[in-house]
C-alpha cells in the first residue's frame, strides 16, 4: 500500500468536500457547525473550570471534570460513530474496487477510518479538545505529549474497540440481513445515547447552589476507564501524568492490534455477505393505481415496509422524544395540560427529524423521476408531503390518545394539546422535507445518516429551534386551555409556515441536479 499516495488522495477528498469548483460544499457547513459547537463548548468549560478554580477546588477535581468530558466524547463516538466506520468498511459503494486491490482487511479498515474522519472527529474536536483547552487556560499548560495521546485515545479507542467487537457479531449475521443489522446497530446506538443524554444532562443543573461542594461530590470515573487515563495524562501530577500517558499509548497499540486482527480475519467475510443482493418477492399483482396520489401512497407504504429498519428507527426516535418531557418532569413539575403540550411538541421534533427529513432520500434513485417525469418537483413534494403528513397526523393522534388518557385530560384539553401537536408537526415536517430535498443522499447506507453530517446538524438545529419556540408558547399559554381564536391563529400560522417551507422544498428539489455518476454528492 502506497501510504503517501493514499494520504494525498484522502487530503484531496477532504479538501473537495469543503470547497470544489469555485463554491463551498456541504462539508463546509459541517466544519462550521463543529467549530461553532467547539467554541461554545470551550466557553462553557472555561466558565466551569474558572468557577471551580475561583471556588478553590483542588486540581484533582478538575481532573475528574476532565475525565467526564473525555468520557462524554468517547460515549458519543461509541453510540454515534462506530457503526459509521463499520458500515463504511462493509457496505460502501467503492468496496468492490478496494476488495479487488491487493489490500488486507486491516488496510481497508484503516482507509475507511481515514475517509470517515469528517464524521468521527467532531466529538473529539467539539468536546474533548475544548475541555483540554479550557483546562490549559485556567490551570496552566499540560505536557504536549500527554495532550496528544489523550486526544488520540479519546478518538481512536472507541472506534478501534467498537469495530473489533462489531465485526465478529456481523460475521454471524445472515448475509441478506447484514445491512439491516447495521441499521439496527445505528438505532440501538441512538437509543443508548438518547437515554444517557435524557437522564444525565437534565440532572446536572440540579446540582446547582454551592458549586465547590457539588464538584467535590462529583464521583470520579473508574480507575480502569480509558477516559480516566486520558484526563490524568493531561491534568495529573507529572509522575502520574507520565504513567497515564504510557497507559494511553499501550491501550492505543492494543486496540489497533485487536481491530487490525479482527479486520484481517473478518472484514472480508462481512463484505462478501453484504455484497449479496437481498431481493424480496411480492406475488401480488402490481396494477397501476387509479390516481397519482394513490400511486404515491401505495409506493410509500411498500417502501416503508421493505425499509423496516428505517421505520423501526423512526418509531424508536418518535417514542423517545414523546417521553422526553416525562424524564425531565421530576426536575420541573408541570400541570397535566402543559405536560401534554410539551410531549406532543417533543414528538413533532422527531416527526420532522426522523420521519419527514428521510422521506425524500428514502426514495433513493427513484427521486430522479421528479425531474424526468412530467409530474414536476412541486407536485412531487406535495404528494410526498401527503404520505408523510398522513403518517404524522396518525402518530400525533395516537400519541394524543395515549397522553390524554394517561393524564386524564378534559375534552377541551384534548383539543388544546392537539393544536400544539399538529401545529408544531406541520412546521417541523415541512422543514424536514426541505432539508431532505437539499441534503438527502440517495446512496445512503446508514439510516441515521441519510442527510449526511451537515444535513443532520442543520436538521437537529432547525427542529430544536422550532420545538423550543413551541415549548415557550406552550408554557406561556394559559394552563387551563387556549381560547378558540388563539388555537385557530396557531394552526393557521403553522399552516402558512408549512406551505412556505413546502414551496421551498420544491424549489430545492427542482434545482438539485444529479452529479456525473447520477448521484448527488453526499452532504
Amino acid at each position: 500500500m502506497n501510504t503517501r499516495a493514499l494520504a494525498r488522495t484522502a487530503w484531496t477528498l477532504a479538501r473537495r468536500s469543503l470547497w470544489h469548483a469555485g463554491r463551498p460544499r456541504a462539508g463546509a457547513a459541517l466544519v462550521g457547525l463543529t467549530l461553532g459547537f467547539a467554541a461554545a463548548a470551550t466557553l462553557a468549560f472555561l466558565a466551569l473550570f474558572g468557577a471551580a478554580a475561583g471556588a478553590g477546588v483542588p486540581r484533582a477535581v478538575a481532573e475528574t471534570l476532565l475525565a467526564w468530558a473525555f468520557t462524554l466524547a468517547m460515549l458519543m463516538l461509541v453510540v454515534g460513530d462506530v457503526h459509521v466506520v463499520v458500515a463504511a468498511a462493509s457496505t460502501d459503494p467503492d468496496l468492490d474496487r478496494l476488495r479487488a486491490a491487493p489490500l488486507s482487511g486491516a488496510q481497508v479498515l484503516l482507509w475507511k477510518l481515514v475517509t470517515t474522519l469528517p464524521r468521527t472527529t467532531p466529538p473529539a474536536l467539539a468536546v474533548a479538545a475544548p475541555a483540554t483547552l479550557a483546562y490549559a487556560l485556567v490551570w496552566g499548560a499540560p505536557p504536549a505529549a500527554g495532550v496528544a495521546l489523550a486526544l488520540l485515545a479519546a478518538w481512536a479507542l472507541p472506534l478501534a474497540l467498537g469495530t473489533a467487537l462489531a465485526l465478529p457479531l456481523l460475521s454471524l449475521v445472515p448475509g441478506a440481513r447484514l445491512r439491516e443489522s447495521l441499521a439496527l446497530l445505528a438505532t440501538l446506538a441512538f437509543v443508548a445515547g438518547w437515554l444517557a443524554n435524557a437522564f444525565w444532562l437534565p440532572r446536572l443543573p440540579a446540582a446547582g447552589g454551592d458549586l465547590a461542594a457539588a464538584l467535590a461530590a462529583l464521583p470520579a470515573p473508574p480507575a480502569w476507564w480509558p477516559a480516566t487515563w486520558a484526563a490524568r495524562a493531561v491534568a495529573g501530577a507529572p509522575a502520574r501524568a507520565a504513567e497515564a500517558a504510557l497507559a494511553c499509548a499501550v491501550a492505543l497499540l492494543a486496540a489497533a492490534a485487536l481491530s487490525g486482527w479482527a479486520a484481517s480475519r473478518l472484514l472480508g467475510v462481512v463484505q462478501a455477505r453484504a455484497a449479496v443482493p437481498a431481493a424480496r418477492t411480492s406475488p401480488a399483482s402490481a396494477r397501476p393505481a387509479s390516481t397519482l396520489a394513490a400511486a404515491f401512497l401505495k409506493r410509500d407504504a411498500a417502501l416503508a415496509a421493505r425499509e423496516w429498519p428505517v421505520a423501526l428507527d423512526a418509531l424508536a426516535g418518535l417514542a423517545l422524544w414523546l417521553l422526553l418531557p416525562l424524564v425531565v418532569l421530576p426536575l420541573a413539575p408541570l400541570p397535566p395540560l402543559v405536560l401534554a403540550r410539551d410531549m406532543l411538541v417533543a414528538l413533532s421534533v422527531s416527526l420532522g427529524h426522523d420521519l419527514a427529513a428521510r422521506a425524500l432520500p428514502l426514495e433513493r434513485d427513484g427521486l430522479h423521476w421528479a425531474r424526468v417525469s412530467p409530474v414536476g418537483a412541486a407536485r412531487w413534494v406535495r404528494l410526498r408531503a401527503l404520505g408523510v403528513g398522513l403518517a404524522g397526523a396518525g402518530l400525533v393522534a395516537a400519541a394524543l390518545a395515549v397522553v390524554g388518557l394517561t393524564l386524564r385530560l378534559e375534552p377541551a384539553q384534548w383539543l388544546d394539546a392537539g393544536v400544539f401537536g399538529l401545529g408544531a408537526a406541520a412546521g417541523t415536517m415541512a422543514t424536514g422535507l426541505a432539508l431532505g430535498a437539499r441534503f438527502g443522499d440517495p446512496g445512503w447506507t446508514d439510516p441515521r445518516a441519510m442527510l449526511g453530517g451537515a444535513g443532520r446538524a442543520w436538521s437537529a438545529l432547525a427542529m430544536l429551534v422550532q420545538g423550543s419556540a413551541w415549548v415557550a408558547l406552550a408554557h406561556r399559554a394559559p394552563a387551563t386551555g387556549l381560547a378558540p381564536g388563539t388555537a385557530f391563529l396557531l394552526l393557521g400560522g403553522a399552516g402558512v409556515l408549512a406551505a412556505a417551507l413546502l414551496a421551498l422544498a420544491a424549489r430545492v428539489l427542482e434545482r438539485r441536479e444529479p452529479g456525473p455518476d447520477a448521484r448527488p454528492a453526499p452532504g
Binding site: A21, G22, P277, A278, A279, R280, T281, S282, P283, S285, A286, R287, P288, A289, S290, T291, L292, A294, A295, F296, K298, R299, A302, L303, R306, E307, E363, R364, D365, G366, H368, W369, R371, V372, S373, P374, V375, G376, R511, E513, P514, G515, P516, D517, A518
Partner: protein
C-alpha cells in the same frame, strides 16, 4: 400538407460545469421515424446533452423542443413526450419490477388497464416476465437496464433518448432492444441513442451525430458522412472527426 412535428429540436444548447463548457452550442434535430446515433469520445458532452434534453440538467443557454413542446416553457408537456434511459438505470431498488412500472405508469397518467397490458408485453419481450415479482435490488445490471428501457417505453413517447442502452445486456436482450427501437422509429417516433459501439450504430441508425468537445462536428446519414467514399467504415469516419477529446474524462460526458 402538414409536416409531422419533429420529435426533437435542439438549438444552440450550452451547459457549463464551473469553468468547463461541457456542451458548447449543440444544435441537432431528430425527425419522425428516424433512429439517430449520438457518437463522441469520452467527455465529448453526449451524456450532458441527453440529460439536458431529459430535464435532469438545466441548460445554461439554448432551446430544447420535444415534439412541439418547449422544455423550458412547457416542461410537463415536453417530459410527457419523451422517454429516457440513462447510462445508469434510475430504478427504485425496493420495489419489484411490476410495482416500479405501475408507479411509472401513474407518473405519466396512463390508464391502468392499458399500462398493465403494455408493461406485461414489454416484460415478456425483454425476458423479464418471470422475474418481475422480485425487488430490483436483486437484479443484475442488465436486468435493471431492461427495466429502465421498459419504463421509458411504457407511455409510447414520440421521442426516446437512450444513453449507452446496450451496457450489460446479453445478446438476445440486445437484439430485442434493437428490434424495439426499430419498431419505435417505424411507428413514427424518433430515437436518439448514444453509444460507443460503432458497428451497432452503423447497422442500427439512420443518421449519426458526432460530438467533439461539446460541439457537433458531423450530422448526417452514413453515406453523407462517408463523403462519397463507400469503402470507409463508420469507425474510420469517427476517428477522423470525433477523435479523442483533450478534456476527455475530466468532467461529465
Amino acid at each position: 400538407m402538414t409536416l409531422p412535428t419533429a420529435p426533437l429540436v435542439v438549438e444552440s444548447l450550452v451547459r457549463r460545469f464551473g469553468r468547463l463548457e461541457a456542451v458548447a452550442g449543440v444544435s441537432l434535430r431528430v425527425e419522425p421515424g428516424r433512429l439517430v446515433g449520438f457518437l463522441g469520445a469520452n467527455g465529448a458532452g453526449k451524456t450532458t446533452t441527453l440529460r439536458c434534453v431529459a430535464g435532469l440538467l438545466a441548460p445554461d443557454a439554448g432551446r430544447i423542443v420535444v415534439a412541439g413542446a418547449d422544455l423550458a416553457r412547457e416542461p410537463r408537456a415536453a417530459k410527457a413526450r419523451l422517454g429516457f434511459v440513462p447510462d445508469r438505470p434510475l430504478v427504485q431498488d425496493r420495489l419489484t419490477a411490476r410495482e416500479f412500472l405501475a408507479f411509472v405508469a401513474a407518473l405519466y397518467d396512463l390508464p391502468a388497464d392499458a399500462a398493465e397490458r403494455r408493461a406485461e408485453g414489454l416484460l415478456e419481450r425483454l425476458g423479464l416476465a418471470r422475474e418481475a415479482h422480485r425487488t430490483l435490488e436483486g437484479y443484475s445490471l442488465g436486468m435493471r437496464q431492461k427495466t429502465a428501457v421498459i419504463a421509458a417505453l411504457l407511455h409510447s413517447p414520440p421521442l426516446l433518448l437512450l444513453d449507452e442502452p446496450l451496457t450489460g445486456l446479453d445478446p438476445p436482450s440486445a437484439r430485442a432492444l434493437k428490434d424495439l427501437l426499430r419498431e419505435h422509429a417505424a411507428a413514427g417516433g424518433g430515437v436518439l441513442v448514444s453509444t460507443h459501439l460503432l458497428d451497432v450504430a452503423e447497422r442500427l441508425c439512420d443518421e449519426v451525430v458526432i460530438l467533439r468537445a461539446g460541439r457537433v462536428v458531423a450530422h448526417g446519414t452514413l453515406d453523407e458522412l462517408r463523403a462519397g467514399r463507400s469503402d470507409r467504415t463508420l469507425e474510420e469516419v469517427f476517428l477522423e472527426l470525433g477523435g479523442a477529446d483533450p478534456g476527455a474524462g475530466a468532467e461529465p460526458g
